[in-house]
């Protein structure tokens, strides 16, 4: 096992966007139960350090692969196709208009303290995200169209921020 291998090989999974989450969970737990510092609490210095490094590495790999968005970004990164940060990327106008409408709807619901409306928006957005991930799976795993995939990932990064905004708004309503 190579410490510097990519996250997919670390968990012995195929390098692909589609992934069996329960298999990832299982492999993660198998690895952690081998390397976790709790297994080495009374061990020597060298092993404690190794265990810390490995457990950190396994956590990093797991976190990256667990969430679809970070998994997609990581796949693009492995293919030397980094998506860059959301702040310095030009997006198509229609997408931006759509995003602004979403944001206005969230801001209005927040101002009016409409918790139900926020939940509804949250639900709709989640469904929208689900569909986008299906599309992303086809682009990454079947068509191998990295250019288009990177574009979809950038959009999802925007949408992900929107989701956080809705969460924040719900918190604000509850307080």
């Amino acid at each position: 096992m190579d410490f510097n291998s990519d996250h997919f090989s670390l968990f012995e999974l195929p390098v692909a966007f589609r992934l069996d989450p329960s298999l990832l969970d299982r492999r993660y737990i198998e690895m952690q139960s081998r390397v976790h510092p709790d297994r080495f609490a009374s061990a020597g210095e060298a092993e404690r350090r190794l265990s810390l490094q490995w457990a950190t590495r396994v956590n990093e790999g797991y976190q990256t692969l667990k969430k679809p968005l970070s998994r997609a970004r990581y796949l693009l990164h492995l293919a030397a196709h980094d998506v860059g940060s959301e702040n310095n990327v030009a997006m198509p106008a229609d997408f931006l208009v759509e995003q602004m409408e979403w944001r206005e709807a969230v801001a209005e619901a927040r101002a009016a303290g409409e918790h139900h409306e926020l939940e509804h928006l949250h639900h709709r957005l989640k469904r929208d995200i689900g569909e986008r991930y299906d599309e992303l799976a086809v682009l990454l795993d079947d068509k191998h169209d990295l250019e288009q995939a990177a574009d979809r990932v950038r959009r999802l990064m925007f949408i992900d921020k929107l989701l956080v905004e809705i969460d924040d708004a719900m918190v604000a309503c509850e307080e």
């Binding site: 492999r27 737990i29 690895m31 709790d38 020597g44 190794l50 918190v171």
Partner: protein, 633 residues
């Protein structure tokens, strides 16, 4: 030892003697120490059979102290020198303490971690906590008849770096090696999980004397995975006492009180609170110094009313933690109640209503944390029995970040990340020819540095002069399994590096700890030199045992050359460990450690490869780990 704890499931590690390890619940109001004896976790009692040790220390003018019930009994008579609820002061500056005017202590005005003037001199919360821990250590050593390998000490999940570090410092000062700092709710879940073999998502609602914690955990197949934590490090049972106290002042129309009177009434308030758990009305009587008599009746209805906002305040972090975990109330399978303050009926009711189910109460809420800590300590000390394969995956409670331009926080590690974890980010210089970079490490969820807790500052110097924006400085955060942070900054081109193990602004330096250790020796008959020697001898035996077992299992990984060098080190260490020269033991240990370093790495690789080979069989039932059932109390 651990090299060797890589035993296949169901197969026990090399046989060895049982190692003495304890779990300590260092509570705001009471502290406890527990251990695992023949597979059973038990709370250790004092010579009078009492399980709790009140977390109260009274300092005497001869420099000595009284700890526990003795100190508590004198609290009303000698409030200035009798420190209670010191946990609230851990890792805190004087400005952090709410309603400090109503406290009887004489705080020192100097900056840094707060200190109190007592008859025995200036005392920091770390020293006070160390005095409590020392009593528990002595109790454990007496009842276990031997020197401790170490302790697992619990902290509220919501404790920040400064508070965790202060707790660890206190243990060091008390001569207790810390195996792990464990989050209290997680400890409670361990106690419950092992008892009931529970599967699913659980919420742990922990209302202690001075802190409130909520944790959302997933228990499955022997894995305790913390999904989210939250809480309020300045909300607890003491606040309920204080509400009663304020109600008393109003109801009896009392004038400003002397420190002694206030202490006495606060004690009456606490008694009334406890009484109301089983009764509808609590009589409150007390005689003030002036001779004036306070005679009141507090009903559960009034009590619920005056504390309603406190109860509601606990539910905010609960909602937040559920959201962080991405879960709704209906997905929570059970709610574990921890902390004496959860005995209050209005708390039980509010939690039951919120989660739409009756909370779990079958373990004593005062003992459950210590029991869980003892169970974890036993495992960490290497007393692993066959089938004892559970694992705890914990998270950090608060985000860690850096100050960037304009006093803004750049989060490096988000809250609720599973630990250990590491994350790096690149920064650059702001001015042409800039040769130093100030790194300011902060903790918290807010965007402005001023709203977060400052943990540490350090400087990276010697950056070669470059055009602004062209230096590449990589700042790496590493959080270990105790949730403690170290930070490294490195300029990529030149390799200039600076790093710091975060000793938060209110932590103690190693020198300060050494100084306090020396001071404390003047009053405590505690032969620390002999102790240190004994500890190194135990450590040496542990290392020897580990290496021997490792050689037994995997000596084929070594060349003849390496093997003979290691054999030589073993002989040297064996003879050193028989002697009384501590330095010699340490040096021999260093040699053996150094010569087995590569061996350890090879064994780790081998073990990881093994995690995957033979998987076919294990995948039939889903996981290589098994839930431990029964056994603990």
């Amino acid at each position: 030892m651990a090299l060797l704890q890589i035993a296949e499931p169901g197969e026990s590690a090399a046989p060895h003697e049982h190692r003495l390890a304890v779990g300590i619940d260092l509570g705001t109001t009471n502290s406890l120490v527990a251990t695992v004896r023949s597979g059973l976790a038990v709370v250790l009692r004092d010579e009078l059979g009492r399980p709790l040790l009140p977390s109260v220390v009274r300092y005497l003018s001869d420099g000595g102290n009284e700890v526990g019930y003795e100190a508590q009994a004198r609290q009303a008579l000698d409030p200035r020198n009798t420190i209670g609820s010191v946990k609230r002061f851990m890792g805190r500056g004087i400005k952090d303490i709410a309603n400090r005017e109503s406290l009887p202590y004489v705080f020192d005005e100097s900056p840094g971690m707060l200190r109190m003037h007592t008859a025995a001199g200036l005392k920091s919360p770390v020293e006070v906590s160390a005095d409590i821990l020392r009593v528990l250590r002595v109790r454990a050593e007496a009842s276990l008849d031997g020197s401790l390998v170490g302790a697992v000490i619990t902290v509220p999940a919501y404790f920040d770096e400064a508070q965790r570090q202060a707790t660890k410092d206190a243990a060091t000062l008390a001569g207790l090696p810390v195996l792990r700092l464990l989050n209290e709710p997680t400890a409670a879940a361990i106690a419950y999980g092992l008892d009931n073999a529970s599967e699913g998502v659980y919420a742990v609602y922990d209302l202690g004397g001075g802190t409130f914690d909520i944790s959302i955990l997933k228990l499955s197949r022997g894995i305790f995975e913390v999904l989210a934590t939250g809480g309020d490090s300045a909300l607890g049972g003491d606040d309920f006492d204080h509400r009663i106290f304020c109600w008393m002042l109003e109801a009896a129309d009392l004038k400003p009180l002397s420190v002694e009177d206030a202490s006495m009434l606060l004690a009456r308030a606490r008694e009334a609170k406890e009484y109301l758990t089983f009764h509808g009305v609590a009589p409150i009587t007390g005689r003030l110094n002036s001779g004036e008599v306070v005679d009141l009746k507090l009903t559960t209805e009034i009590f619920a009313e005056i504390t309603q906002t406190l109860v509601a305040k606990t539910l905010q972090p609960v909602k937040k933690a559920l959201r962080d975990a991405g879960l709704s109330v209906s997905e929570v399978k059970g709610v574990v109640m921890v902390g004496g303050a959860t005995r209050m009926p209005q708390v039980q009711r509010a939690v039951g209503e919120f989660f739409r189910q009756d909370p779990l109460n079958n373990l004593d809420p005062d003992k459950v944390v210590a029991i869980g800590a003892a169970t974890q300590a036993n495992l960490l000390a290497g007393n692993r029995a066959a089938g004892d394969n559970w694992l705890l995956l914990d998270v950090i409670p608060l985000s860690l970040g850096l100050e960037t331009m304009g006093g803004l926080v750049e989060k490096i590690i988000p809250r609720n990340s599973t630990i250990p974890t590491a994350r790096a980010q690149e920064f650059t210089t702001f001015r042409d020819g800039q040769t130093a970079l100030a790194v300011h490490v902060v903790q918290g969820e807010r965007e402005l540095v001023s709203d977060c807790r400052s943990l540490a500052r350090f400087e990276l110097r010697g950056i070669p002069p470059m055009v602004a924006g062209s230096a590449r400085i990589r700042v790496a955060f590493q959080v270990d399994a105790d949730g403690l942070l170290s930070v490294t900054a490195r300029e990529q081109a030149s390799g200039v590096e600076a790093s710091i193990v975060v000793k938060p602004s209110y932590g103690l330096s190693d020198d300060e700890i050494a100084g306090m250790l020396k001071d404390s020796m003047a009053h405590v008959r505690d032969d620390s030199l002999l102790r240190a020697l004994k500890e190194s001898q135990v450590d040496a035996q542990r290392l020897l045992e580990a290496v021997r077992a490792a050689l037994g299992a995997d000596s084929d990984l070594l060349s003849a050359d390496e093997l003979s060098r290691i054999d030589g080190d073993i002989v040297k260490l064996e003879s050193a460990a028989l002697g009384e020269n501590r330095r010699q033991i340490m040096l021999a240990m260093d040699d053996l450690e150094a010569d087995t370093k590569d061996f350890a790495a090879q064994r780790m690789d081998k073990s990881i490869r093994r995690a995957f080979s033979g998987r076919n069989i294990k995948e039939l039932d889903g996981a290589p780990v098994t839930v431990k059932t029964g056994e603990t109390a």
